[in-house]
Amino acid sequence: MKPIYLDYSATTPVDPRVLSKMLPYFTEVFGNAASKNHGFGWAAEQGVDEARAQIAALIGADAKEIVITSGATESDNLALLGVADMYKEKGNHIITCVTEHKAVLDPAHYLETQGFDVTFLPVNKEGMVDLTALEAAITDKTILISLMAANNEIGTIHPLKEIGALAKKHGVLFHTDGTQAVGKVKIDVNEMGIDLLSMSAHKMYGPKGIGALYVRRRKPRVRLSPIIHGGGHERGMRSGTLNVTGIVGFGEACRLAGLELEAEAEKLSKMRDRLHKGLEDKLDYLYLNGHPEDRLPGLLNISFAFVEGESLMMGMENIAVSSGSACTSASLEPSYVLRALGVGEDLAHCSIRFSLGRFTTDAEIDATIEKVVATVSRLREMSPLYDMAKAGIDINTIQWAGH
């Protein structure tokens, strides 16, 4: 069987159209975009300018508001650390939530060691923060709200417009980690009141190692302390010779996303629902993780009760997916995101994330359904927990000897 890739939330292949746009920039248009006194530099700069405009256009921003970075992790770090340092005289309080990516949580924890107070808001069982709790958490010391656009594990999409309005009402900056959302669902920084937005090229058919941070220039003008110091590139916010090929690829990926986003979202939602239904038709004890509607179009996170996630992946050889099972990590702790939703540890171990993308076909979805159904059925026949469930025993009432 030809391998099937259903892990687009981890990374995407570079779209061939993106690659062909990038290629000349390796060998012919190889100049340093910062070389202002010869044609090689100008040509490279022109490529960067065009790409910057394409990146900005996808999110309704101005090209001058795009700071190029090495990816979303750097963008998240720059947003949190840069705002914290620049606005520390104004206040020392930051609000985020427990299901954020580590690229937000870890800088937030670091800031706690530097005298900042961070509120980590809980989420409900669908992965949403409560807006009333968010507003209640804002104090006169709050300088930043950082809440992700779409969650990487469960795909839940936060109500960005409402969060942006709350931030504006209280004069607090709003950063959102848009890694999973940009290029998949419509994001408009002005409509949604976003002041800082992290983006990554490789989640949207661009190359790895390139990303951007949108930094609002007016109403309000957001200022940042840099975390990387040097030649003063990117208006001093991010020094370092520009990765011209990467930027050009990112730009083209954004242009294509702008053109195809709507049709692609519709196609992926249909495929995702086909996958979900196909599994539900043949298997019992399935639990959807995440919000049933406000969710990324191509993402399906399901717990297959009584079957451990890693053993399921092992049986689905040639189908690439992710699991929230502890056995896939060295920590032996199941997914903190699923735990934060209140998903029991037993079900967290049983979760699989299917993420579909541009090159997924209906035939692949059908083959996946068949393989997953067969593997889950086989493993359940082997599972003592499935026996208990069928015998009407609630496994939560048993006193287990943990280890």
């Binding site: 092992m314 032996l332 171990h349 599972s383 287990w400």
Partner: protein
Amino acid sequence: MYSDKVLDHYNNPKNVGAFEADDAVGTGIVGAPECGDVMKLQLKVEEGKIVDAKFKTFGCGSAIASSSLATEWVKGKTVDQALAITNSDIAEELSLPPVKIHCSVLAEDAIKAAIADYKSRQSTSEPS
């Protein structure tokens, strides 16, 4: 990532199933769902010798392989010989990486729990 032996036990597990409750059967259930693995191992004993074994396991591939191997190994052994099987024997046979050693520990625990259960049945069923 997985050794051939783990893959083989995972794809063709030996002795999957369960015995009817009986005084000649010892049952050990170890682990916990929230830890991601539960092993149920059953032994059938005749005249001090383990004549048959069955398992059911919820867990990763290495946990399934460890329990499958355990059932193979205990068959034909006396109860005391089975008690001498250690987790490192199992881990070595399956070439388990360090993060999977706990699977072999669980299999050893399951054998011991099944034998303890068998012994307790013997002592309670003896005529008074």
